[in-house]
Symmetry: C2
């Protein structure tokens, strides 16, 4: 099953908006999933989107708010009063509400919080605002079902029913002691299949994977993936249960992390999207281009060192882009494999073994590529055989050096605590351009003597 | 909480293996999570890993099997008899068991299936083997809890208890009619909070998001993410409930998809890891390097066209790697943003607007980079001002063309149904190298006249 926004639907909505036919709008959107409505609003202009937003009920709009693109959400929030925003937040889970409040200005924040209806909810939200967004505390929500180890199954089911009213999805049932310290978890299955008089202390599972409230988000993601968890309890420094993180929030972390590595490999240093403003896009792209430009200056200088070759061996200069391109590509390949290996925790073996492996691989690839290069330069481009030999030897050397740089720079960065993904993309291509050209002309000078 | 494999632990295990102290091994690993044990086995050699594997109980080893690296799993399976493999599979969920069977040779497959203990389980596994691994059918499992719309809450709870025995995690309770056609779902909350005499038909939720059994895995991932689902029911062409897909299997799809885009951007055409064999790594990397090499031949030819400039304007050749690098980097940036926009479904607006935007962005970046380039070439490199002007004009032109190529090639590929990620990395850098150098020298010739 598939939801597709049709042009007809958009047109119909726009007509209803123009003629202020609110009931028709409501009827049209009534059975739609909030994620679908958000997709529609993102297609409309800000005024149209806000009009529809105000027509719909707050139990629906609250969820829609979460799904909107950032700029539209910001725009809509700016047109709502503190009281209206508070009404939206009353409908949301604590972590989602806290995320939205965190986007507001400081003045508005306080005002919105004071307008929240449900005091318990407000207290939970304020508590969540304390944590960094990229920690377990920033990801967790307060909605959870917990039972006391001293209860029996009957009390437990009764208490759970009450708690479940406020929890949209029951992931796990956590067991705590009288001090709210996390003791373990209860399987729903055991609860369903045990007599009602059984003590919780007798049936709960004492092993439970948890994270500390200040654990990093990527660490939480790693643990939840490794142990296949759909929710994980969060404890404070005293071991007290303070919240839980669900897998849907972790999927966002996983995707953002993968997107970030990909963008860095492509030379984009901020999280930008195609639809961001030109200034934002420029800010994300310029730093890497400036780096490449500065590297380019060095290549100009390096080539200048070999100016003497121009008279007799001018053809050598025709091959510099080819050599630079091969060095760049090999370097990016090597670095990408290492960066992914580090990200997915699949690197093993010693540095020395890795060195031997990269050199063997480079010799294999270099031999094949050199053969093609020699044949191409001799038959296709009509270059003299001696030039072909020079270029082939240079190519093998360049491939070895480029793959070593591509392998060991990310490993080094990782070792000193810098994100190794920084070393894929422009950084590696630029340094390999420089090294590649230097090696190429040095070998040419040794063989041809100029 | 963190699990770290210590060298001491590995040494202790190895000592126990050498002296065949099976009980000590069991004691040491008894309380460990299967994912942790798998991590340990991956650190040992094949013989040691197999030894430990055979010491442990099959309820533990079955889960371990799933978590092992491919080559170790293959090795261990090759040392087990059909009966032993069947014992492992009896412990696993249907989809995991089917995944392992799918890796076996055809002969062994039949033998293992015939050795399965639980006939119902065997039937489910055989059913799952029919589906392509990258479809909903290939991802789904048979373990689910379903109730008939004609039951009441009491019958429902009773039946659920029985079904729950075979289901390790209850995600959703699906409601079917007498023909097993999916009608809706039941919220656990409603079930917990409704009187036992209520009819299911009166309380179940009629709206349920499902996928067809032959839906593509990435489509399933998109739907589950969009609607924040932790499990999704799978139906056949008749609308009958045939299985369910859980979010943990979808996380793998999301990660594989992100990894694949990343590898393509880096010029790696197969799913490889740093620890794969040299031959596999070479096979994944060579095609792109050959492509870059062939593109290199063209750049050699293009440069040859401008040989006449060498006598009077030899310095122009020093700047070719710089121009090529800028073209390549700009192209990769543009293509990466488009590829991610397509993958995350966040591209909107017309092609014409995108064209205007890319040109504006290029003019902005081009102006800034040209200023740096002019200053650098005049003061730093001591080139004549006229050469600086030539290079700056060329740079702006190259940036515009490169960003247009980077933007529209992925869009075009996507339009004709080819994976746009193919167009990031080497393909874009190579074509931009060629175009960039051609533009650069053409502009130089126009201004300098050679």
């Amino acid at each position: 099953m598939q939801f597709e926004i049709s042009k007809d639907l958009i047109l119909e909505l726009q007509q209803h908006i123009v003629h202020k036919r609110d009931q028709d709008l409501e009827r049209l959107l009534h059975d739609m999933h909030h994620a679908d409505i958000a997709e529609i609003l993102d297609e409309l202009d800000f005024n149209e989107a806000t009009y529809i937003f105000k027509v719909l009920d707050s139990d629906k709009t609250a969820e829609i708010l979460l799904e909107l693109e950032d700029d539209l959400r910001e725009n809509i929030l700016s047109r709502l009063s503190a009281k209206e925003i508070a009404e939206e937040l009353d409908e949301l889970d604590t972590n989602d509400a806290a995320d939205i409040i965190a986007e507001l200005s400081n003045n508005l924040k306080a005002e919105v919080i004071s307008e929240l209806d449900d005091l318990e909810h407000a207290k939970d939200i304020i508590d969540l605002l304390r944590y960094d967004e990229d920690t377990a505390g920033g990801l967790m929500g307060k909605e959870l079902v917990k039972v006391n180890e001293n209860w029996n199954v009957l009390t437990c089911v009764k208490e759970m029913r009450a708690q479940a009213e406020n929890v949209s999805r029951v992931h796990s049932i956590y067991v705590v002691d009288d001090q709210n310290r996390l003791k373990g978890r209860l399987s729903l299955k055991d609860l369903l299949t045990t007599s009602t008089k059984t003590q919780i202390a007798d049936i709960y599972i004492k092993k439970v994977t948890f994270v500390n409230v200040d654990a990093e988000d990527v660490e939480v993601a790693r643990i939840m993936q490794k142990y296949d968890l759909e929710a994980i309890p969060v404890v404070d420094a005293m071991g007290r249960l303070v919240g839980r993180i669900t897998i849907d929030d972790i999927i966002d972390v996983i995707r953002e992390e993968a997107d970030k590595d990909y963008q860095l490999a492509a030379g984009i240093s901020q999280d930008v999207e195609a639809d961001d403003s030109i200034i934002e896009l420029s800010k994300a792209r310029l730093p890497w281009l400036v780096l490449a430009l500065l590297g380019g200056f060095i290549t100009v200088r390096v080539l200048g060192l070999f100016e003497g070759a121009m008279v007799e061996h001018g053809n050598l200069f025709f091959f510099t882009p080819l050599i630079a391109a091969m060095a760049g590509n090999v370097g990016v390949q090597s670095s990408a494999i290492i960066v992914q290996g580090l990200a997915n925790n699949t690197l093993s073996g010693s540095l020395f073994n890795r060195l031997i492996k990269e050199i063997s691989l480079s010799l294999l690839n270099g031999a094949i590529l050199s053969s093609i290069l020699f044949l191409g330069s001799y038959f296709l481009l009509g270059e003299p055989a001696v030039l072909g030999v020079v270029i082939c030897i240079a190519l093998v050397a360049v491939i070895i050096i480029a793959s070593l740089i591509g392998t060991f720079i990310p490993l080094l960065l990782h070792k000193v605590g810098v994100d190794p993904a920084l070393a894929t993309g422009p950084f590696i291509t630029t340094s390999n351009d420089i090294c590649g050209i230097l090696i190429y002309f040095s070998i040419a000078r040794m063989i041809l003597g100029f």
